[in-house]
């Protein structure tokens, strides 16, 4: 049976394999900052497509945060 998404359902952000449930209705940029990541250090991918960080998070959606900083 298909699960009903309600406005209280969280969105999920995934960073290096770790899953974070975040509140919907806020921008992706704000959610990333709240998790303690710099928005400058990640790219957001939803359903295989890059999305900009002004996106308002929707109930139940999953967004991959791709870390872009490397160094050694």
């Amino acid at each position: 049976m298909r699960r009903m998404e309600t406005s209280s359902s969280p969105a999920t952000l995934i960073h290096r394999g770790k899953r974070f449930e975040v509140r919907c209705g806020t921008t992706l940029r704000d959610a990333v900052r709240k998790l303690g990541f710099s928005p400058e250090s990640v790219l957001a991918v939803r359903n295989g497509e890059l999305v900009t960080d002004d996106r308002i998070l929707q109930p139940g959606e999953e967004i991959q945060l791709v870390a872009v900083i490397s160094g050694g």
């Binding site: 928005p39 890059l50 490397s70 160094g71």
Partner: protein
Amino acid sequence: MKCRKCGAPAAINMRQHKLALCRSHYLEWIPEQTERAIEHYAMFRRGEKILVAVSGGKDSLALWDVVHRLGYAADGLYIDLGIDEGISYSSKSRALCETFAAARSLTLHVVSVPREYGATIPEAARNSQRGRRKPCALCGLVKRHIMNRVCREGEYAALATGHNLDDEAAVLLHNAMTWSGGYLVRQSPVLSATRPGLARKVKPFCRTYERETAAYTLMSGIDYIYEECPYSEGSSTLYYKDILNRIEEDRPGAKLQFYLAFLQAKEQGLFAPGASGEAELHDCPQCGQPTSAPGKCAFCRLWETLGTSSAPFPTPHPPTTSPS
């Protein structure tokens, strides 16, 4: 947010440029910007043969893709460092480079450090003074030597590396914190071949944000190694990049301004000639590469100490994967 050029949904927003673009316009924009940098800093010209140092990471593979798409004659060089202990880091990155080259019918030179010199980088580091604490310095020494050698032997006009703006700004901040005059004077988009035996080195992505190169690889569908080198954890580069990104968050464009203003100040004479204390260079009697002190270079001394390879060093021509 909409693409400024066509109004389609944007795939990336670059606050530093006040520019949002869709996928197709972004994939045009990055090569245009790279071409501008190549021309602005007179890095190389069409018709010249260049060598791109590839690691399997996003920056170097994106660079190779871009210069190839722009129509430059660009071969690749992959150095297998033998960092495989339990994680297959080198094996994976080598396979990615080979797949990338084969898909585009490009020539990839591969130099295997363990096969040619008798020890992997971790093994060499464990058994030498230079790398005992951390192998990064030793790894840098080995890579610089091999890149220079292959570039010189292959008669390439330039060695192109995937250093991006974040790399350059992080190094600049590090060196400014310690006022390392010698390093500051030498930091440049182009390192000229100041004497025979030294390859000309260029950084076509020096004005391109790391976030932009990553976006290019993702949008182009280039498969790259996402995992970090296991030895990069806790590196000073990552530390300074993080600080700069915190500044960038509040002041979009700060990293670019920091770097470009430095280059401009240098051009205007901020650093007096000679402040670098540039050392006289000598030829290593064993390998012939330039070295700062008379006698054998650090690279030759390293392998001599380890007793894993005998002089003279092998392979005037590296193993090559050529398009069939």
